[in-house]
């Protein structure tokens, strides 16, 4: 999965820029499938992108059955030929994971770049990482346990 750790994000927007250039061959934040949402005055930056949900609301609401999972990467892919541009997916996605192309008025979303997400390659602070959910889960657990471990280590060594 495309894992996001907002606390590492520095807000540089390289992910957006690279995404749009890679997919659309143009530099335009509006065309990027990923977007860094910012609260500048508080210093909070959160990259937002499709989470490739297990029960994808976009798939459920799509009247044309145009959104389907790619078996290899697990990405939800929009079939351009089937999409009629009704934008129900845009309305229902809880993450704003789906964008609308100005010209075609049809929708587009993160396709995980066939398993090699360009945004991840550009993310120096590693706020974006491409890894499986179990690895992410183990990492998160370790981070959560770290504080406790320091306390424990201290306690054990003093005894």
């Amino acid at each position: 999965m495309l894992a996001i750790e907002p606390e590492k994000c520095t807000g540089c927007r390289l992910c957006e820029t690279a995404c749009a250039i890679h997919h659309e061959k143009i530099c335009a934040p509006e065309k990027a499938r990923i977007r860094v949402t910012k609260w500048e005055n508080e210093g909070v930056y959160i990259p937002i992108v499709c989470q490739q949900c297990e029960t994808p609301i976009c798939e459920i609401v799509c009247p044309m059955h145009a959104i389907n999972r790619n078996a290899e990467t697990g990405a939800m892919i929009i079939d351009d030929k089937l999409c009629v541009g009704c934008k129900l997916c845009v309305q229902f996605c809880p993450f704003g994971g789906i964008i609308v192309d100005d010209k075609t008025k049809k929708t587009a979303k993160c396709d995980l770049c066939s398993g090699e997400p360009v945004c991840v390659k550009f993310c120096q602070p590693k706020a974006l990482q491409y890894l499986d959910a179990t690895t992410l889960n183990l990492r998160k657990r370790r981070t959560a346990a770290e504080r406790f471990s320091e306390y424990l280590k201290k306690m054990l060594t003093t005894i």
């Binding site: 606390e7 520095t10 927007r13 820029t17 250039i21 530099c27 335009a28 210093g43 120096q124």
Partner: protein, 629 residues
């Protein structure tokens, strides 16, 4: 496409706005950003005007490569005739404004005249509107940006704003964007204030098409790897520019107590590691993989709660070493205050440090400073004076005019203590042990300034063969030496003129690492992004053209060789402390003159620093080029 972006001419007096595509011929000669700004400044400005008159131009320029995903490509160049120096006014700013202006369809704005009441400009897709800013006038630089976003009901509005300092025509008021980014030097915020222009907001959705997008992406990835693999960049990513302090304070390359000492004794609290007590993470400008500034939170004390970004190495000097303050917290508060009011951190600190020395030697006293005890390390006085400068209150009003105005009011005997060139304060580096840096600040077209050349590569103990390979001629590996240093300064000036014109970050060039991007990499990036082909020699010529047109501007304003000089103290007082490499060093006047001669020669200027006819011809700076608009 890059080539469909426009120049907009905006007259605030009569509200007239015109637009035209940036001529490709101008791109070939100047690329964009600082280059084109300087052309416009020289061409459209009448000589000897009062910088605060409506006639002055306020020019905004987006870098030629703005929007590429590497090297911090979001930089913007701001130019005018400087109210502080009367010379070239030029300041570069990062953040996210430049790409947004480019997405709105504009690469350059040339603003003239003066609005009758406070206004802001809004650039949206191919359109520029002048809007009422009465409700924003008086707001600080953070709140002003929030209000603009709210006004336009769009969180993605990016803006350049001024604070109280700009409104009050403080001569070193800056222009700001975001929490931290500032076009700090030469008083560009004062020019905005003089035009009743509170802000320039941009929001655009016009895509930029690069010529070879797939190869560009690959190459940009290589560029990011190239820069993040340098030790300098790794250290910067972690601690920001403050990392320089560890080195310079240990060695003795930091002016302390104005210019009395060259290192801060007991200055441990200013070591960059101490920012960790306040940092919640780092922050980067557009397209930057280095992210050199901290986001910090101050949770206690009279100014808390406070969120800020930075501080830079320069602020450690401005509100630390130069004024004798030794606490990180002082820096964080002062940094926040100058950002809030929109003051150049460096000029503010330089002037306060100077006042403190004048206070110590009796040229100033409590009567003249309105009761402020300007003693070394008095942080309350520093905070107080920052606010008085921004409000132009009492003694703050005197300092608000910069060194030129303040010396005229305080008296001629104060001039000796002013560490400035062409009326602009130097930063807190002490250049007496490093002749290359000394030459760089003396020749900088915008007044004492390290970012025009920053010739630091000889400080890394590199073999002379390597230096020769980079600079194309012999350069001594000893940084105390004068040999070949003119070549370093000249070469770096050309490189940075081009860096400022393509709109990438200087930190991501040979700023502190020899194997960082330079000419060849710039050529390739330009080719992939725009299709234009430039060899290294062409780019160097563009750099030369930019430096020379700035020189022509200054000559036209009455600056001559005598202004490419250092404060007398550099020649008279040797550095008192520091490591042997930095101790007991002063600048040798004769050797300095020789360096200056060599430097002029390399630029193709005569002994008086006037560009030779053949140089002007070679650079097409005769009339043909100046007719381009």
């Amino acid at each position: 496409m890059v080539f469909n972006r426009k120049i907009a001419h905006i007259n605030l007096s009569n509200g007239k706005i015109s637009q035209k595509i940036v001529p490709k011929a101008l791109r070939a000669q100047y690329l964009g950003g600082r280059g084109i700004d300087m052309h416009l400044l020289y061409k459209h400005m009448n000589p000897k005007i009062n910088p605060l008159s409506p006639e002055n131009l306020f020019i905004v320029g987006v870098g030629f490569l703005s929007g590429i995903p590497c090297l911090g490509s979001g930089r913007c160049d701001i130019a005018a005739k400087s109210p502080l120096t009367g010379a070239v006014g030029d300041s570069n700013i990062g953040g996210f404004f430049a790409p947004e202006l480019r997405f709105a369809g504009f690469d350059h704005l040339v603003i003239t005249g003066k609005a009758k009441k406070p206004v802001y400009l809004l650039a949206t897709d191919d359109e520029i509107t002048i809007k009422d800013a009465s409700h924003i006038w008086g707001e600080d630089t953070f709140e002003a940006q929030t209000l603009l976003r709210r006004d336009e009901d769009d969180e993605n509005i990016k803006s350049l704003v001024i604070g109280l300092a700009g409104e009050n025509l403080v001569k070193f008021a800056n222009v700001r964007t975001g929490m931290k980014n500032s076009a700090g030097r030469t008083g560009m915020g004062c020019i905005m204030g003089s035009k009743n222009l509170k802000a320039i907001a941009a929001r655009g959705t016009i895509p930029v098409k690069f010529t070879h997008p797939d190869e560009l992406i690959e190459y940009c990835m290589q560029m990011n790897d190239m820069i993040t693999s340098t030790r300098w960049s790794k250290a910067q990513s972690r601690w920001g520019t403050m990392i320089i302090y560890s080195n310079t304070n240990t060695t003795g390359l930091l002016r302390t107590r104005n210019f009395q000492l060259n290192r801060l004794e007991d200055g441990q609290d200013l070591e960059p590691e101490n920012i960790d007590r306040y940092s919640i993470g780092t922050s980067g400008c557009y397209g930057c993989s280095v992210h050199c500034r901290h986001r910090y939170v101050l949770r206690e004390g009279p100014f808390a709660p406070l969120f800020g970004e930075g501080p830079e190495y320069t602020s450690l000097g401005a509100f630390g070493t130069m004024v004798g303050c030794k606490k990180m917290e002082t820096i964080l508060i002062a940094n926040h205050l100058v950002n809030k009011y929109g003051l150049d951190t460096l000029e503010t600190g330089g002037l306060i440090a100077w006042s403190m020395e004048l206070f110590e030697n009796g040229i100033l006293n409590e009567k003249t400073t309105d009761g402020l005890r300007l003693e070394w390390g008095n942080e309350e006085a520093v905070f107080d004076l920052i606010q008085r400068i921004a409000h132009r209150e009492g003694f703050g009003d005197i300092l608000a005019d910069g060194f030129g105005g303040a010396i005229a009011k305080i008296g001629k005997d104060s001039e000796y203590y002013a560490i400035q060139v062409k009326g602009m304060s130097n930063l807190h580096s002490d250049e007496r042990p490093t002749p290359s840096f000394a030459l760089g600040i003396a020749t900088s077209t915008r007044g004492a300034d390290h970012l025009r050349s920053r010739p630091a590569i000889d400080m890394y103990g590199l073999p002379e063969d390597t230096l020769k390979e980079i600079y194309g001629g012999p350069v001594a590996d000893d940084y105390n030496s004068y040999d070949g240093k003119s070549r370093m300064v000249w070469w770096q000036e050309l490189l940075y003129a081009v860096t400022d014109s393509i709109g990438t970050c200087k930190f991501q060039t040979v700023f502190c690492a020899v194997h960082a991007p330079k000419w060849e990499e710039f050529s390739k990036l330009i080719q992939l992004a725009t299709g234009m082909e430039f060899q290294k020699s062409h780019l160097m010529q563009i750099g030369e053209r930019i430096c020379t047109i700035e020189r022509l501007f200054n000559l036209r304003e009455g600056f001559t060789r005598k202004d490419d000089n250092l404060p007398e103290r550099y020649y008279k007082e040797p550095t008192p402390i520091g490591l042997p490499v930095a101790r007991n060093k002063k600048i040798d006047k004769e050797k300095f003159k020789k360096m200056l001669d060599e430097y002029y020669e390399l630029h193709g200027w005569d002994k008086d620093g006037v560009p030779k006819q053949e140089t002007l011809k070679k650079l097409s700076l005769d009339n043909t080029l100046l007719n381009l608009s």
